[in-house]
């Protein structure tokens, strides 16, 4: 286990360093940032002053190490536009995004697991087809379009739900439905194939032969064995959602990290963009690390193999 852990940590560390370099260089590709900051009719001299003020006249690697050194202590610099500390801007908004991502995964699982289990017990029947149809729908509908349809129906026609903001739980309902339907198919397919494999094994046949309650066999004995890959997928989807809520947050005016990222990209506020990309990558690395360790703990073949 110790060897597995060390190796896994070493890889994660390398990946984190690489990601930080990529995040750092992302918006710097865009050319002369100092000129943009100085304004349209700035003279060369003024541009040079601005560049010096922001430290943009130093070699890139010096700027990187400087940034990385501060980042370790939690100082991610200041926004070029609002001059607020970036770390505060992000952590203020992280709650909204994490909430939205968790609700969406919860909704996805609530739909996917019962449907996947039922579909696996009755392959090629109407219930299997129906859940497959729902999965196809969830995979194919562009989420921004689905969000607008929900707004038209629940926000405008029926006037049941608020269409923008993030003050109450009601504000999260439509965004959660949009994203939840989007992540449901992957969970459902994985549950269905996992269950199909497990239901074919001897211990399930034994459990059934003993005359145990069929529901108990299904949800306790079988599902428990099919759930491992779902845990890994949850980590991946959570990581994906943290960065994938950009569109939905901007449609519903949810003031989360995605919306902040979108605004910052639009105005080339690179300290904010690079920090968001870096923090989201780090959280993905940590999430997958945790899920790998959980799986290794549960399944000796992984940690010894």
């Amino acid at each position: 286990m110790a060897r597995f852990l060390l190796h896994r940590l070493y890889i994660s560390f390398l990946v984190a360093i690489t990601v930080s370099v990529i995040a750092f260089s992302l918006l710097r590709l865009s050319g002369d940032l100092a000129a943009e900051l100085a304004g349209e009719d700035a003279t060369d001299k003024e541009i040079a002053v601005v560049a010096h003020q922001y430290g943009l006249d130093r070699p890139l690697y010096v700027q990187y190490f400087d940034w990385a050194k501060n980042a370790i202590t939690g100082d991610l610099g200041r926004s070029l536009f609002t001059n607020e500390p970036v770390s505060e801007m992000i952590f203020e908004r992280l709650g909204v995004t994490v909430k939205l991502a968790c609700y969406s995964i919860a909704l996805g699982l609530i739909l996917a697991i019962p449907l996947g289990v039922l579909a696996s017990t009755k392959p090629n029947t109407w219930i299997d087809r129906m859940s497959l149809g729902l999965a196809v729908f969830g995979q194919a509908i562009p989420n921004f379009f689905f969000a607008l349809l929900l707004i038209l129906l629940f926000g405008v026609q029926l006037r049941w739900l608020p269409i923008s903001g993030n003050d109450t739980f009601a504000h999260f309902i439509m965004p959660t439905i949009t994203l939840g339907i989007g992540v449901m198919p992957q969970f459902m397919r994985l549950t269905r194939t996992g269950m199909l494999d497990v239901l074919d094994t001897d211990f399930i046949r034994t459990a059934r032969a003993k005359g145990l309650n069929p529901m108990r066999v299904l949800f306790k004995h079988a599902l428990r064995n099919a759930i491992l890959p779902i845990i890994s997928l949850m980590a991946v989807v959570l990581g994906f959602l943290l960065g994938g809520t950009v569109i939905i947050e901007s449609i519903f005016a949810l003031n989360g990290v995605g919306f902040l990222a979108y605004e910052s990209i639009m105005r080339q506020d690179f300290p904010v963009v690079q920090s968001i990309v870096f923090i989201l990558s780090l959280s993905y690395i940590l999430l997958t690390l945790c899920s790998d360790l959980i799986n290794a703990q549960l399944d000796p073949r992984i940690r010894l193999g």
Partner: protein, 306 residues
């Protein structure tokens, strides 16, 4: 007997042997004919392709032609609609049907090339890692991990904001988003194949590594590459639409379906067709591509597997 099957594969017409088992191509043809999803999906995709290629002939109007006296005309199923503009007109008086038809060009082109380029890049990386193993494989796993850790949509948005929303830039940026799945799959396929005797035999005959990878391993991984490509093409179409919807993709006045939804958004409460039509266009194209991809997977699966 195995010899006779091989013979029939090589040449169908001069087949002198009695063959009871259908050859793989024959079997695939049979499966394709009875696979409803595949037939339906590929028909819609072909139709979209036809419209995209001939849109300048098929479209009733120039999609860029503005006429402010004819703005926001309702589609034909509405009381005030006419057959002159079956899908109505947009806020600048442009014929909506024509804009939708031209929009299919953008979606299909970006979807196809993004999927194809990422297939080439990803499969090459995956096969190299799987074939050579050891340090090279470790390095490739590390590359895949870095790619997975990055929030793809945000990176794409930042890159588009830097390089602009031209079709070429979008294709390259989306290709960068999708290579990892090909790499993961071809890597594991290659790992399974490389231990086979025919690879050893090829090596013993003095085949170069390039020849083994291109001639022996690639054909075996091809089915899976095509299946992934069709699914990634669908995702690429959705992401292009999403980027254009956010204003960071295709720039106006070029008609992209995502851009049409975004332009129609301010009028959607009174003219919902402005968002529903392009939205449904994306939806149906993506469903059709997915059905085709699932169909290819079922059709090319080795016998006895479902």
């Amino acid at each position: 007997m195995p010899n006779s099957i091989m013979q029939s594969e090589l040449d169908d017409k001069t087949d002198e042997f009695e063959v009871t088992v259908p050859s793989p191509p024959e079997l695939m043809k049979r499966r394709a004919k009875s696979h409803v999803g595949f037939i339906l999906g590929s028909t819609v995709v072909m139709l979209a392709l036809f419209i995209a290629i001939f849109s300048s002939l098929l479209a009733p109007f120039d999609p860029y032609d503005q006429d402010l006296t004819r703005r926001l005309i309702q589609p034909v199923w509405h009381q005030t609609g006419t057959w002159e503009h079956p899908f109505g007109t947009d806020a600048l008086g442009r014929d909506y049907l024509s804009r939708l038809m031209f929009g299919s060009q953008v979606s299909l082109m970006i979807g196809f090339f993004a999927a194809a380029i990422s297939a080439v890049v990803g499969s090459t990386i995956g096969m190299i890692g799987g074939y050579f193993g050891g340090r090279i494989d470790n390095f490739i796993m590390y590359l895949i991990n870095v790619k997975l850790a990055l929030p793809g949509l945000l990176v794409a948005l930042s890159l588009v904001s830097v390089f602009g929303g031209s079709i070429l830039a979008l294709i390259l940026i989306l290709s960068f988003l999708f290579w990892d799945r090909y790499a993961v799959v071809t890597r594991s396929v290659t790992q399974q194949i490389r231990v086979n005797d025919y690879i050893t035999a090829a090596r013993a005959l003095g085949a170069t590594r390039l020849r083994i990878i291109a001639g022996e391993i690639l054909p075996n991984a091809m089915n899976q590459i095509i299946v992934i490509a069709s699914l990634e093409m669908a995702v690429a179409i959705i992401i292009e639409a999403a980027l254009s919807f956010l204003g960071l993709g295709i720039q106006p006045p070029t008609p992209s379906w995502g851009l049409l939804v975004s332009e129609g958004r301010s009028y959607m409460f009174f003219k919902p067709y402005l968002i529903v039509l392009p939205g449904m266009a994306i939806f149906f194209l993506v469903i059709a591509i997915n059905m085709m991809g699932d169909g290819i997977r079922d059709i090319t699966a080795p016998e006895g597997r479902n």
